[in-house]
Amino acid sequence: MAKPTTVSSDSPALEVTTPQGKKPLAGLGGPAGWLDERVGLAKLSKGNLRKVFPDHWSFLLGEIALYSFIILLLTGVFLTIWFKPSMAEVEYTGTYQLLRGIPMSEAYQSTLTLSFDVRGGLLVRQVHHWAAMLFVAAATVHMLRIFFTGAFRKPREINWLIGIGLLSMALIEGFAGYSLPDDLLSGTGLRFVDGLIRSIPVIGTWAEFLVFGGEFPGTIIVPRLYMVHILLVPGLLLALIGAHLALVVYHKHTQYPGPGRTEKNVVGYPLFPVYMAKAGGFFFIVFGVTVLMGTFLSINPVWKFGPYTPNQITAGSQPDWYMGFVEGAIRIFPAIEWHFGHTTWSWQIFLPGVGMLGLLFGGLAAWPFIESWITGDKSEHHLLDRPRNAPTRTSFGVAGITWYAMFWIAGGNDILANTFGGSLNAITWAMRYAVWVAPVIAFIISRRVCMSLQRHDAERVLHGAESGVIVRTPDGGYYEDHMPIPLDEAFTLTQHAEYPSLEPTAAVDENGVKVPAQVTKRRARVRDWFIRANLTKPTADEIAVAHSHGDGAHEIASPSEPIEASNEQKAVSRH
């Protein structure tokens, strides 16, 4: 581009101006300017720095998961400095007296050294384990929040799938992690995995020999799990978390319905400075809390279990909590094993072990597509559902939680029997039925509760809130006075979307030609059932009529008395 050689003397460029106020990065000089000239920092920041995020406590669940993952990376790096992923046998000579002179693997020995002879080692180990528990727990509850509010709907289905992938890998990561110290408990877990791999039909024995490098336990499973735990799965988790967050930024965060919130906007506070301070601060809070947990709450005291030997075990062996449902399925599954000729098909291990995980994660992954097929809803959603306004989905969710919980409880059938003095066999049998019956009961109850809550909403909108004031009428009747609810609340309670009922269309038109986009009778029935518990919300006319009548309770107590509509006036004149 040609440059001017002279500047005219009356050019505005020569006028002296004083900046209005002091801008911290005026003219974008210094390091920021240096960076901008090289990577276009200003272009990147513009628009993104003031990106709006909505506020709600339930949005913090995913943040907890993210932060515990960062804590896991930080503490994990420290642990790798000391941990030796080796199954070579050594004799313990460290500080912990009770195990001195006992032969053990280097993995276990280095875990003991880390715990007793490295300053801060035990603390970091416990913080790491607590953060892992928190990571899976927060991710699970975050997933439930997404499910119950319908945040998985278009355009966020891909992010839902990424989330399911993250959760399933978190389980593998956690399992690989607690198998590493090679103490009696983790060795028992590996023994189970060996049995599980063996049970895979046709290829089981081959998979076992390849994974364990020969017969169980061998000398190579701990180094291999170490690779899985510190490289393979964390790498995948990191990549998926990156994609997960990038999609959140692209789609912008969902928001709960409320005054001023629409499908076309996002209402909240800017990233810089409010969310940087809030989210950044929250990271330090999560970190601080896990450090204090690692300080005060003992977790996985491996020195108490002793080194792994294949002929020892402790009663009440339990995996970490997130594996409890698989454990429960394994415990209560009936002993179904086929013996065909010279082959053995161990369904009682394969189905609950591998099938259970497949069923859970497969079902979760499929849900957004099943729901959108049933409702036929293909539009974008950015406003969250209040769970009561999607009663069938909510009830499926509660049934799913119940199903999971029943298996999880079954995973502790021995502890239940011991604690409550019950019969182990009776508890096991009861759980075999409970995993089928309890979810159905939970489904029915939740649908009822959702409907009641919807009626309650309608009642509040039409007749207001109970004031707690009992009024006696001159003719001796009693009624409770009702107060109109704020307009903000009335709007929130009536804003939700409604699905029209679908009529089945004829498969062929009047000329006998097949119609492609038809609604089959079955689909209409399924959809009808799905939205049956969505009650019709009050219309504007109904609200107006109800308000002009005054409050419903009056009519029952004193039908003759006309009531002034002053309450309604109050509701409209706000601020």
Binding site: V267, K278, T309, N311, A335, Q348
Partner: protein, 352 residues
């Protein structure tokens, strides 16, 4: 294809709009505002002190000290490092959030959303570019290139996967017979107590007693810990003595026991946990992992739980001095099932 359905979102109550901003105490009261500032600064200001405390503890609190209060008995160093470090980190977070809550502007703002998908013009333009690229590559005319590439890329998976096959030895029939289908028990091997390796005299065992035991030749593997571990994982046994009149001994197993002393594999036939919970009165043996229960008074058949096969029994007898010895290896593979396992020879309830 399902029919698209318009979702209706009617508003019987009109949208009142974003609620008005409500001023906080710190926005209107200068004293309150200074107080908020002091709070945040106090949080941040305490952090360096705590960090310094952490360093002091690191260097000057000996490993041998302990902390005891309210039922807690912890190593002092661990306790103070965690307490000081944890509170320091926590204070950074609390300070930052107080700052955002009390001092930073809290005006809710609204931002427009845009459809996730592109508009039709962008789609057109992108398709044009794709079309131009395809045309330039000349792929539509030169199908052979496309088709060979389609085979070339997936075929690369083959070498990638094949390299994994050396992760372990291949369990063909020969290797299976030498590993998972065999233990170190053979004829004449003495049964010795677990851990102390003492031979067991039949007459020393009382009715109702259970002994965790091992083959005497397991000690030969002391120099090879890995071999010893996998041998132990299969050869571990339990010996029980029961009153012969209260148990069922099938004809075929009459000489597998010595006066009601029976010997079973300790490895569960479900997923391989060592079974250890002995109910003396019922002769039941319970696995602590998944609660499979075996009846040792009836050749180890399953009476409850997810295990599907009887516990393998080891044929035993006594030597000249009256010590228990094995008569052979187990007659069936011990431990959890695997696909190639021939399970026709396992003892089933009622066999003779």
């Amino acid at each position: 294809m399902s029919q698209e359905v318009e979702v209706t979102r009617t508003h019987p109550v009109p949208d009142p709009g974003i609620p008005e901003h409500v001023e906080r105490w710190a926005d209107v009261d200068p004293e309150e505002s200074r107080r908020a500032e002091r709070q945040v600064a106090a949080c941040f200001g305490a952090v360096p002190l705590l960090a310094l405390g952490f360093v002091v503890v690191y260097f000057f609190v000996p490993r041998t000290w302990s902390v005891q209060f309210a039922g807690l008995n912890a190593q002092a160093q661990n306790f103070w490092l965690g307490l000081l470090g944890g509170v320091a980190i926590l204070l950074v977070g609390i300070g930052a959030i107080q700052w955002a809550r009390l001092i930073m502007g809290d005006h809710e703002i609204s931002e427009e959303r845009h459809d996730a998908g592109s508009d039709s013009d962008t789609r057109e333009a992108a398709l044009d570019e794709v079309h131009e690229g395809i045309t330039q590559s000349d792929l539509p005319r030169r199908k052979l290139i496309g088709n060979t590439l389609k085979i070339a890329l997936p075929s690369l998976a083959l070498p990638a996967l094949i390299t994994l096959l050396d992760m372990g030895p291949w369990p063909g029939p020969g290797l299976r017979a030498a590993t998972i289908e065999k233990t170190i028990w053979t004829e004449g091997v003495h049964l010795v107590t677990d851990v102390t390796y003492k031979r067991i005299k039949a007459t020393d065992m009382v009715v109702g007693e259970l002994v965790n035991a091992a083959p005497e030749n397991i000690q030969d593997l002391n120099s090879d810990p890995a071999a010893k571990a996998s041998a132990t994982a299969k050869a571990a046994i339990i010996i029980v003595r029961m009153d012969p009149s209260t148990i069922k001994i099938p004809q075929s197993r009459k000489d597998w026991q010595v006066d009601g002393i029976l010997c079973y594999s300790k490895i569960c036939t479900h997923v391989g946990c060592p079974i250890s919970l002995w109910e003396q009165q019922t002769h039941h043996l319970l696995c602590p992992c998944h609660q499979s229960t075996f009846d040792l008074g009836n050749s180890g058949v399953v009476v409850f739980g997810p295990a599907a096969r009887s516990l393998p029994q080891l044929p035993i007898t006594t030597d000249a001095q009256g010590f228990l010895v094995a008569r052979s290896d187990f007659t069936v593979p011990v431990g959890p099932s695997y696909f190639e396992r021939d399970s026709t020879h396992d003892y089933k309830d009622g066999d003779n």
